[in-house]
Subunit: 236 residues, 2 copies
């Protein structure tokens, strides 16, 4: 095929984006960036199991396709996902992808940890993420408004007491708050600037701690108690 058939010519060209994700190495890199961190090229090469030369060419293609962004710092070059829409695409595809069969006990434990709590881009996901969103909606801290959520005055007060400055979060140019479909729970967790701020505060407080695989999160005992106390969020 040299040209697109005319019947689809008025649509978005999804094949090139899918092609960027369709390579195992690039998919591994994107997945490694799914927690929203910036990683250096060498680190990504090591994680994906390829030579620096190979990694560099893949990163150049991902950059060209605007799936990632780059920031040079000294002789390091840090790459991160271009935005949460990219993370959304990856998680949406994961939703219909066959899960990789678990081979070792260690892997099985890690998978269980990820299902319990993890970061999705930069906000809380997994059972804990879903439970927290449920609790916030239940308590009226969040009010659904179409695709987004709003925070009423009393909700803003409660969040202020918790240590999240809602007016400051609102000033961010990023989407304020919205639902993000969770690929393990198949139900939404909290997205956007507010989701990120809440998650950051939870980690700051020591209610959540990063696991060895940095995407994984562990809920501490104080965290469990605090979440129940402040948000009425009960975790099994």
């Amino acid at each position: 095929m040299s040209a697109a058939p005319s019947h689809v010519a008025y649509e978005s060209d999804i094949a090139p984006i899918a092609a960027l994700i369709s390579d195992r190495t690039r998919a591994a890199m994107l997945t490694a960036l799914l927690d929203g961190r910036a990683l250096a090229a060498g680190e990504l090469a090591r994680l994906a199991g390829v030579s620096p030369a190979t990694a560099s060419s893949h990163l150049a293609r991902l950059l060209d396709g605007r799936l990632i962004t780059m920031e040079a710092q000294g002789r390091h070059r840090y790459y991160r996902l271009a935005g949460s829409e990219v993370a959304r695409v990856l998680e949406t595809i994961a939703l219909i992808s066959p899960p990789i069969q678990v081979r070792s006990l260690r892997q099985s434990r890690q998978a269980a940890m990820l299902r319990t709590a993890r970061t999705c881009y930069d906000h809380l996901a997994g059972r804990a993420g879903v439970a927290l969103l449920d609790a916030l909606l239940d308590k009226g801290v969040l009010i659904p408004a179409g695709e987004t959520y709003e925070v009423p005055a009393d909700g803003e007060e409660l969040l202020a007491g918790f240590g999240v400055d809602v007016p400051a979060v609102r000033r961010s140019r990023r989407k304020f708050a919205g639902p993000c479909l969770d690929w393990t729970e198949r139900r939404p967790h909290l997205n956007g600037a507010l989701g990120a701020a809440l998650t950051a505060r939870l980690i700051d407080l020591g209610w959540l701690v990063r696991g060895r695989e940095r995407r994984a999160l562990v809920i501490t005992d104080t965290g469990r108690a605090g979440l129940a106390d402040v948000f009425g969020c009960l975790l099994d």
Copy 2:
């Protein structure tokens, strides 16, 4: 790379699914199936601009990857998307894909039509879809409940008067109703069994008519008046 690096081994294997979408021809076929219809192999070959032999091999791969399903009828073989999750993936990727530049006036008119009203899998999308969901929420016919919507008693009554049997829709095994992010409007429209039933009824009533490209929908004058009258849904 012969094996997946251990760091991502506990996750879903997204690369193979992305690979299925990454080919222009297969992407064209999947896009053609986005309206939820079943199309014959020959039709898909023609739409994608390839020989029957080529189309057949692509369809076999899509079938193997469970992105589509097949039903044989006589000497025809009809293919359709495996489900709305697949449609969701395609639309999500479209969200971050560069739109194809418009070349002809005809294409520009068709693109405008698609933005105004179209089917997404089997439910109404585009400006009309977003406006209808807004109106339904505004009127209280739909109540947000996490990732899904519920219909209260008076909403059920209004829909019954319109010709949609909500209890029957509820009995479907499919998800009842939910938001589906619109890739042109970047705001949600109504999804699920209820979205499909509503859309079918709108077409039945002649309020919406299929365009030449079957995914496109045209709002008739009676439709415009009816939507405003019944749902308070105003279209520009």
